[in-house]
Structure formats: structure tokens, C-alpha cells
Symmetry: C2
Amino acid sequence: MVSMKDISVACGVSVATVSKALNDHADIGAETKNRVRQVAKQMGYFPNSAAKALKTNRTHNLGVLFEEDDHSGLTHDYFAYVLDSLKGAAEEKGYDITFINGCRTRHNRMSYLEHCRYRGFDGVIIVCVNFHDPEVLELVNSSIPTVTIDHVFNNVCSVVSDNVKGMRELVQYVYNKGHRRIAYIHGVNSSVAVTQRRLASFYKTAEELGLKIPDEYIKAAAYRDTKASGIATAELLELRERPTCIFYPDDFACYGGINVIKERGLSVPDDISVVGFDGIRIARHIEPKLTTLKQDTTQLGRRAAEKVISLIEHPKTTLIEQIVVEGEVYEGKSVACLK
Amino acid sequence: MVSMKDISVACGVSVATVSKALNDHADIGAETKNRVRQVAKQMGYFPNSAAKALKTNRTHNLGVLFEEDDHSGLTHDYFAYVLDSLKGAAEEKGYDITFINGCRTRHNRMSYLEHCRYRGFDGVIIVCVNFHDPEVLELVNSSIPTVTIDHVFNNVCSVVSDNVKGMRELVQYVYNKGHRRIAYIHGVNSSVAVTQRRLASFYKTAEELGLKIPDEYIKAAAYRDTKASGIATAELLELRERPTCIFYPDDFACYGGINVIKERGLSVPDDISVVGFDGIRIARHIEPKLTTLKQDTTQLGRRAAEKVISLIEHPKTTLIEQIVVEGEVYEGKSVACLK
DNA sequence: TGTAATTACGAAAACGATTAAGATATAAAA
DNA sequence: TTTTATATCTTAATCGTTTTCGTAATTACA
């Protein structure tokens, strides 16, 4: 590897001058600056990130925490898109992305925070994780610039999708299609806040529209669990007054419901309408196309990356805020018009 | 941050002793070693990766190249699972994962190789990329330990799924179900080698089984392009002697075909059987469950990580080889039994 | 013309670790 | 007892940068 030393001898100047020339300091003459840069380029010079980090305490590297017990993070269409966007936005600004983990060394296990300090991440983005994990809390409460996605802590920035508005628009959409008996199989387990917000919005909107939601219309099933959502669906179908439309925790789970509906010889949407949540890509390619709330994963990822970089580079002037990203109703073919 | 210096004063020894104690060198007394380690732990010491990297030229960080023009990498179920597995395996061995990119700095754009050198990656894994990109070739031909996934270069290690065997078993499976008129819509564009291998295996197996494949049974459609596969399907359905079973480039594209088949009032698998490729997760949750070749993404990722780490840690004794990972036929409900 | 201000550069310390070589004390061998 | 070996720890150089401070040369100003 060619270092500043090599350039300095090639140019007949000191390494200090080389450094300052490359970093565009004011106290280097224009001529020297150009010469140094030219030689650097032609010798194929690139800085050594480790040396630079050691000296400056800046790595231009972001840690991304992306872990769930069941490995449903990376392999979750929604989060994969968020990460992809995150990655793109960070790279544009010259930052790299490294996964945070509780990595093992010779000595002992590192906590998430310790791992971050070890690697010297300039900032971290917490995407998909158990937000009650004490290690996550430790990280969030640290001094490292942090942005969370889809979860809000009181003292850190967050980027969240507008679950309230999303759910409201979905309910309104379905209502406008003439549905009055609407059931909701809500998610459980992970992301409690998200679940509650959606559920609250579901109830509130229903009430505003003058709908009464009987208790037996509300079921629970784990996110992305087709079996659980299938069982809940079966229960709903057995009711004397069965719903005309069923909401699901997410698109994936929705298919569990669709399967059960079809097994019963019923058709979607002619007999029963269904709506999902998330807007995973494949739902737009399978018939019947799912009517769902399409989250703006591109914005979620991008805004998170931009925010954390802003926190890093302008800590004073960047405010701690909660950025809300709106999704939109994707109109598929899974909701019948009853009017 | 607490450094070795801090520990050395706390213990009344030199930093060299601290370093050697923590790294378990032989020339440190047992008592001192214990004391240093204990103090280190209780002071919350963790090494500074930048300093360590600067001195040792080892970062314990792997670069992963994971990029495609259409962003179909991360968001592709198949590759997402590979990455997830890769990540897990690397972490087990104490390596972190950072994405490689052609990142921009103040000065000028970095090539993939330059980025790797800048970050000092100990090794790289090339997962999903245009393998004809000159920058990729530059990286592959460099001295950095490299493993490619699903593409083989002559002088680097690779982990590939057994497309030949996979396709053979799929054809045999379908043949055993009584199908004789089998069409194949093969992929195009990316991963030419993969496509050719599957196609060749398709022809060869058919021939071995005594099947004649008329030219009009072979169509092309881009991977994961439901529209293109739909069009190709429509063409196949118009043939005088239409196939009883259609092979698709991948599961995603398969749904494009299923849609068209259903539009025509035909049923899967009663009228037309379909088989996919990859074994994406959702295909096992939507009816009719897809019969497909389920790739062993866990092994693909894990073996790649283990191989590159082996290349890094035992360069002499690790042989340059091509690791073949076998998939398996996943028996769904999309192929009818004609016997 | 003498002094102050400005410009352009260099010397050297520092970041936090590793490691070769040297030093000291103790134990074993002669 | 002297020599040699062994065990244990330290000194100091080094990795590739950045940055403070100093200095010399040039220019501006009185």
C-alpha cells in the first residue's frame, strides 16, 4: 500500500504537507497542493481508514443493528427494503454499513454497545430488534448518535411509519367499499408499540365511522405466522355473523388467511375481503393482488441514514425528533365493493 | 474509552505487559496475567479495532459485495437468506460484515478493490453482482482472499448451488408424475452461467428420459419478472400441443405464469402444472404450494463465510476449490400426478 | 528602512495497539 | 562459585495519519 510517506518523498515535501494538501487545508500553496494531489492519484494512493480513525476518532462507518431471535430481520421483505435504502443513502454520503452484533472474542462476549465502541461506529441505526433487550437500551442510552426505526424512545431520534394514519386510511377505504362488518387479526409479540398504535387507530376510525366492532372480531396472531392467522381466520368464519372483511397483521400472514378462506370453498374477495399490511413486493404479483398499506420503505431507510449522519456531522443543530413516514393504501383486488 | 495505558497504570506494569497478558503470550507470569485481565474486565476495557488494525494489518472484518443495478440483491428472498446465514457464520468466528461499495470521497470515486484496501477487509465475499463488471474482475484478481457465490472464476474459491443436479431432479420428479410434455421458461440477463447450466441440465435429463423437447417449449423471461413470464406462459398455452408442465426461472416469475393460467380459466395443477426454482419462503405459504427446487441458502452463506475465513487464517493449507451445495426438490402442490 | 502581518511549509507528538530486543532476577548446571 | 538457562517484565520502535506549534520567507505597512 502506498502511504503518505511515499508521496512525500516523491514530491519532496513532508508528510504533514501531504496530509494537509489532500485535506485541502488553507496553509498549503496552490501549486504544491496540485502537485501532491496529482502524484497521489497517479501513485494510486488511498488513505488507511484505520490510521485515520485512530487519529480522528471518526470512522465513517455506521453500525446497523438488525437482529431478531428468529432471523426474521434480513429475510423480511419489509426490512430488506429498508436496509437496501439505508445502505444506498449512507453510501452516497461516504459512510459504510457494518452489522452490529454481540460478537465473541477470545476474552468474553461483547455487548452491542461494546461492539460499537470497539469498531468506533460514528453512529448506529437500530432497525429490527427486540427493543426491550437491556443491551439495546444500553446502546440507546449511550452517547453514540442513534436513530431507531419503527420504535420511539424518548431521547433518541426515530423514523417511524405512520401506523395510525395508515390504519385509518385502510379502514376508511374498506368502509367506502361498503364494508360494515370488519374484523382485525392484529399482530403479537414483536414491536408492541406498532401493534398498539394500529389497533388503537383501527378502533378509533371505526368509531368515527359509526362502526361497532364486536369483541369476537378482534383476534391475535403472530406477525408473519400463516398458521396462526389461518386459525384465527377459521374462527372468524365460524361466527354467526361473520365479517365481510378481515384485516391481517401483515401481508405474509394474510396469505395464511386466504388459504383457509379458499379451503372453505369461499372466494376472495367475492365472499370475504382481506387486507394486509406492509406491501411486500410479491403481494403485487400474485392474484388476487392484495389491498394493503404499502409502507414507504425507501423513505424509512433514507431518512434514518440521513438523520444519523446529520447527528454525527452537526450534533448541535440537529434536533432530536421523530420522523414520521407515511405509507399509502395500495389498491389491489382483495377487497370487494359491496355497494 | 479505557485503553491499555489506563490498565497499565492501574496494575503498575507496562503497556507491553498488558498487551501480552491479554493476548496470552508465554512470557507473562500467571499471576500478573490474571491480575491484568481482571482489572481489564472490571474497567470495562475493549481493544480499539483501529489501533489493532493499524498495527497488525488485520481487521477481522469481511467485505461483502452485494449490489445489482436494479437493487434486486438485498430484496431478493434468496440472497437475503444467504446473507443472513453468512452474517451468522462470520459472527460466530469473530468477524464483522461490511458492505463493499464504490464509495465516493472528497477526492474521487473508489473502485471496489480500492474500497477494500481502504477499509482493510481481511477477505471478501462476492454474492450478487454483475460478474462481468471490470471492477469485480479487478477485485477477484487481487490478492485479497475472496469467495464468490453462484459464480465460478478459475482462480478463486466459490460456493455454488448445484444447478445441474437440481434441475435434473426437478425434471425427474415431474417425469415420475407422468408428465411428458414439459416446457421451460428459462431466465435471462443476470448470471448467465447459472442459466446455461440449468438449461443444459434440463435438456440432458429430458434426453436421458427419452423426452423430446420441441423448440417452441423453450422460452425466455427475465428472472423475477412476472410480466415476462406471464407473456411466455400465454404463448405456451396457445400451442396446439400445449405442455402439461411449465418450468419457470424462479418462484417469483412462476407466479406470473400462474396468474396467466388462471386468467385463462385453467387451474393449477389440474390443467397445467408449474414448477419454480429457489424455494422462496412465501411459496410454501401460498396455495397452491409451489413445487420447486429449494436451495440450501443456509449452507451457501455458511460455507462461503467459513471458506473465506479459512483462506484468511490458513492461507497455505486452504485449497482453492469450488464448493457445491445441493438443494432439494420441495414437493408442493403445483404438479399434478398424471398417472 | 524597519517592523508587523501573511503565506507556506516542516518537525514532532499523538492516537492505541503490537512486538522485537534488551534487562533483571532467579533457578539450574558446571 | 561461576556460568548458563529460564522466567518475567520493560524499553522503544512502529503502523499511517492528523494537528499543533514553530520557522522562514515574503509582503504590507508605517
